[in-house]
Symmetry: C2
DNA sequence: GCGGTCCATAGCGCCAGAGGTATCACACGG
DNA sequence: CCGTGTGATACCTCTGGCGCTATGGACCGC
């Protein structure tokens, strides 16, 4: 590509004059005096190599060469104005596309609140959310496949930054008719003989292993009677009496009439949810997303 | 439309850097040193208001804002390069559109030679030829409907310039078997008893009236036995024995085996063909057309 | 012929910015 | 730990060209 021969400024002047077809009026519209306008046009014509306007005593008219150049000039000006505008919107983070990965265990808890808040503030941003477990999220962040991830138990990765947005305990999920639901807190050991409803391990290996780990720490292997791919379904199955479950506390947001959530004892076990991103990612949308997350979940 | 905020030059620099993704190489391609390139990019980024490149130690990459601006910049640059090129071609008269009016009596004589010569030299010019008699041509020139006209017996019009490209006598058109074809020249009077083949007056009133005038000057009213809208047809009808004709000498270019063209006496009557154009027309195609006409038909 | 309209020309002041050189800061690899 | 390659920074020069005012010159209508 050759160096551009024309100045955009002159093309603008040209376009205005081509509309007015009158040096005086065009100069007024441009906010300059008439002689400078004449100069600009002359300079442009010199660069083009041919006259663009035919000067008459009753105003001016375009020459064929001018008629040919005009649409190109207009398109170029519009193109740039639009492109610049779009670039600025993206640069300022008020528009663009943000690809968000999330762990399945967050699909009905932190994710909706976060996305809703974000959408409210940045309605022009195209959010692309993708469900994936923690390890693939880390890989996808590295590959640039996603811009931000919502991770359970964030691993430390060299090029990634993470911020914990939620640290929560576990709760027992019980049918409200269950005897244990009468207690304010449930000892994990008390669930030893109960059938369990859990997510398949493949969906959320991290949280799955934590839950199974809790049971083992209490001295039993949970008897998994039923699997369900969404926490909502897990809750529904518990409500239907198919079993009990242990889940991160944020599951409380799923409110079902026949389900009771009870603090467990010991309550020391906690699981963290973090937001992760490429440390060197300059994308302003990311910063905004982090801000929104901060506002949503405190200074976690 | 607002004043443009960017300099095309910077967009060019931007586009090159976006291709190379390396300040050093881009600077070489641009033929400048590296620091000025850094400055250009910085200036552009300042105007846009956001970084366009993410600088890394192993080269640079585009930010989302940069990715958004790049296609717009490229399109604008291409647009302008193409538009400028087209405008120059038109300005220099090597491309464009030229609307040519012509009198029917020239359709098979001067017109083809002229157009062929012109097309050879200016192959990119879009020639639009339109058959019309002299008076409408003059009007069409005034209206800007045509750019140049080929006129029989050009009238003097205030805003039009004309140049005679051909001044020719008349010839008798005879079947080659006709007794008069044995003579080298024919007196008009000798045609008094012959049936005539002529164009309808509406097609070429000027030349038609000149021919009828020749007969009257020789003392008779021509008996028009047949009309034909093209001179080629006239010649063919003469060949077929339907009559004789009088025609401008350039009709000789229509070569038919059974037709003889003979000089007439007295040979003083001449008809002129002129090229006409708007005096103030800046169209360079017109100048070229006049040049070609000059070369084709001498400095007449 | 005179004033009005319209564009071109001349000459001037001024500064944004393009380009240069020299040097720095940083990251990475041996 | 030091060389190498990357881009950034500092500082300088110089000029292109933008805009101004004042004036010229062509044309038109009254």
């Amino acid at each position: 590509m050759d160096r551009p021969e024309l100045a955009l400024h002159q093309l603008h002047v040209f376009a205005v004059l081509a509309e007015e077809l009158h040096f005086g009026r065009a100069a007024v519209r441009l906010g300059i005096a008439q002689p400078p306008l004449s100069q600009q046009i002359r300079r442009l014509e010199e660069r083009v190599g041919h006259p663009l306007f035919a000067r008459g005593p009753r105003g001016v008219s375009l020459t064929p060469a001018g008629r040919e150049l005009l649409p190109a000039a207009r398109r170029a000006l519009d193109e740039l104005a639009a492109g610049l505008d779009a670039a600025r919107r993206i640069g300022s983070g008020t528009a663009g596309r943000l690809r968000v990965g999330f762990a399945a265990s967050l699909a009905l808890t932190v994710l909706p609140a976060l996305l809703r808040s974000y959408r409210e503030r940045y309605s022009q941003v195209d959010l692309e959310i993708r469900e994936m477990t923690t390890a693939p999220q880390v890989a996808a962040l590295h590959e640039g496949e996603i811009d931000v991830g919502l991770l359970r138990e964030p691993p430390a990765a060299p090029d990634l930054d993470t911020r914990v947005i939620l640290s929560e305990g576990f709760v027992a999920v019980l049918p409200s008719t269950h005897p244990l639901a009468a207690q304010r807190a449930v000892r994990v050991k008390q669930l030893a003989e109960e059938p369990f409803v859990l997510l398949p391990r493949a969906i959320g290996p991290t949280v799955h292993d934590r839950i199974v780990g809790l049971c083992r720490a209490a001295g039993f292997e949970p008897a998994i009677a039923q699997r369900a791919v969404e926490w909502q379904t897990v809750a529904a199955l518990v409500e239907a009496g198919l079993g009990v479950s242990l889940a991160p506390a944020s599951i409380r947001r799923i409110r079902l009439g026949g389900v009771a959530y009870r603090r467990i004892e010991p309550g020391t076990a906690r699981t963290t949810v973090a937001i992760g991103w490429r440390r060197d990612d300059p994308n302003p949308l990311l910063l905004h997303f982090l801000e929104v997350a901060h506002d949503c979940f405190g200074s976690g």
